[in-house]
């Protein structure tokens, strides 16, 4: 039984006020600013400039580079995270001694602050005193110390590595939720029919896990597309602009070059790309459900 209730609407007021103040209005203002010139507010001294900022961005090589970096970063990290995430989820879906420790090990990277985690890796990748160089030279893989974060393209590779290390676990947790909705009967029936582990995974687990896979890939794609504090703290976008993401570019346009309008357009382009990918995924999820 559900209750039709006027009180229901009043209960929404505090949450909606906060959301309107922090999310809705600023988003609206960012959209308007992206079509403006020399303006920082929609109320005071707003000057309309049409699509000028967008045109300028598409003709700015540095913006195009950041767009490419972001897409490359997302396209490489998300699939690898998915594969590792499925593996970890399958491990966590079983009962064994010491499971609590493994679960904490999966949860911990997700819970670490991305900014500080980037600093931790920056220290480990340090050229002169870093653990990474030390271990590689101990096992004889490198002769001279390598400046991993100071070279192209290794800086981007390192950034991808750190992201995969940190977020595969998040993928695993979402997939675990999907695994646990698979009815036991199916596995029972499978074992009566004499399935092997591999065919069990191929014909029972994977098809039923598909909705969870799509959701976690969607969430991770959205997240990877807006990576900000990872490049900010690991490489500062460098060397040159080889690890500068869209978010970092927009941040710099706004706060370093104090061009609120150009920065807003960059964020809007980022959002349009994220939206397009999301709609595509949601359509796939919907189709999978029917």
């Amino acid at each position: 039984m559900k209750y039709a209730n006027r009180a229901g609407l009043t209960f929404l007021v505090p949450a909606l006020l906060i959301i309107a103040f922090v999310l809705l209005f600023p988003i609206f203002q960012t959209i308007v600013l992206s079509f403006g010139r020399n303006s920082t507010s929609v109320f005071i001294g707003y000057e309309y400039a049409g699509l000028a900022n967008y045109q300028r961005l598409l003709n700015t090589p540095r913006f195009i580079t950041s767009l490419n970096n972001t897409i490359l970063f997302t396209a490489v990290t998300v699939p690898i995270e998915l594969v590792i995430g499925i593996g970890l989820a399958l491990v966590l879906d079983r009962n064994f001694r010491g499971k609590g420790l493994v679960r904490m090990a999966v949860l911990f990277p997700w819970a670490l602050p991305t900014a500080l985690n980037a600093l931790m890796w920056r220290w480990m990748f340090n050229t002169e005193f870093g653990l990474f160089n030390s271990m590689l030279s101990d096992i004889g893989l490198i002769a001279d110390r390598i400046n991993w974060l100071g070279a192209i393209p290794s800086a981007m590779h390192m950034m991808m590595f750190v992201s995969i290390w940190k977020t595969s676990s998040f993928m695993a947790l979402l997939l675990l939720a999907g695994l646990q909705t698979i009815p036991d009967d199916l596995y029972e029936a499978g074992s009566v029919d004499g399935t092997t582990r591999l065919s069990e995974f191929r014909f029972i687990t994977l098809p039923l896990l598909k909705p969870a896979i799509l959701v976690s890939v969607l969430l991770r794609t959205m997240d990877a597309m807006r990576a900000f504090e990872l490049p900010f703290n690991l490489t500062d976008g460098g060397p040159l602009t080889s690890t500068e993401t869209l978010s970092l570019y927009a941040y710099r346009a706004i706060f370093q070059y104090v061009n609120f309008n150009l920065g807003s357009s960059a964020i809007l382009i980022q959002f349009i790309i994220i939206m397009t990918i999301s709609v595509f995924y949601i359509l796939m999820i919907r189709r999978g459900e029917m």
């Binding site: 906060i18 602050p113 900014a115 480990m124 005193f129 646990q180 909705t181 029972e188 807006r226 964020i267």
Partner: protein, 295 residues
């Protein structure tokens, strides 16, 4: 739109009956994978900890000295004596994250009760609106929020950043709590209705007490998000003494030098609460995360 139905009621736990494939004992290979996971996950943190208890001479040495010899707490004492602003950052983070958590639980809880258990026109529209605005990149808020807060004199205030974080994470809290509240049996609420209890009364005396696990899960997740949040904290707290820990530590190095002995020690202090929470409350966190994504 339920994708993994009922996941709110089925957090990852050991209590479920084993499935056929699971009854088989795990193999040695399985344990090797599990052990690798643990090692890879804790490896960076262990290294940062080891660095933080080395002397400065041992930190900047080649070949790298793997184990601290001698062990020293000098770096932690240096924070206390020479750079107390680092402790101030952690205190700021604590004030912001704790208050944010309670603000979100109060506002988000009421909203989730309304959206999860009451019926009225426009309910689904509001749920979808809340989800849609939370998809905007946080960076999209920065130019506007910065100017608004400047006008309202809310830059470099706790209340400013708390409101910012509350806005950022109320949507996710509403989603998670809506799922938890749906699992409270309707019979109890029906009985109270018959006795003439108001909706607010039912929320306070029935739904909240029966949803304590869900509130803890949501609260912990929101606390971690706020503790870790970077872009808003970076822009809305520009005064050195108002910075939160992740921002303060990452901007601490300055232009040219990187005092790793201080940074590693401060990082350890900042991630300590995270380490404790993910160890002690793993069931709660996993339950909350899976409840939030299940819709």
């Amino acid at each position: 739109m339920t994708l993994f139905g009922g996941s709110a009621r089925a957090p990852a736990s050991d209590q479920r009956p084993p499935r056929s494939s699971r009854r088989k004992p795990v193999s040695l290979g399985f344990y090797i994978v599990a052990a690798m996971t643990v090692i890879v996950s804790f490896f960076p943190t262990v290294w940062i900890f080891l660095t933080s208890i080395k002397t400065e001479a041992d930190i900047y040495a080649w070949p790298v000295q793997y184990l601290p010899d001698p062990v020293t707490l000098e770096n932690y004492l240096d924070i206390l004596n020479e750079t107390p602003e680092l402790l101030g950052y952690i205190l700021n983070s604590f004030i912001v994250a704790t208050t944010t958590t309670f603000v979100i639980l109060a506002c988000g809880g009421l909203a989730a009760y309304s959206l999860g258990r009451l019926t009225y026109r426009g309910r689904n529209f509001i749920l979808i609106l809340i989800l849609a605005v939370s998809m905007f990149p946080p960076l999209a808020l920065l130019p506007s929020l910065f100017n608004m807060f400047l006008e309202l004199r809310m830059i470099n205030t706790y209340s400013g950043l708390i409101i910012g974080h509350a806005g950022l994470y109320t949507p996710i809290a509403v989603w998670i709590l809506t799922n938890f509240f749906k699992t409270v049996p309707h019979e109890i609420e029906d009985a109270a209705r018959v006795d003439g209890a108001s909706s607010l009364r039912i929320f306070w005396s029935i739904i909240l007490p029966l949803s304590v696990p869900g509130l803890i899960s949501t609260g912990l997740i929101v606390f971690i998000f706020s503790w870790n949040e970077f872009p808003l904290s970076l822009v809305l707290m520009s005064d050195n003494f108002m910075r939160t820990a992740p921002v303060g530590i990452s901007l601490f190095p300055g232009e040219y030098s990187f005092p790793w002995e201080i940074i590693t020690a401060a990082t350890m202090l900042t991630i300590l609460p995270i380490l404790v929470i993910s160890g002690v409350f793993q069931d709660r966190l996993i339950g909350g995360l899976t409840a939030g994504s299940g819709k």
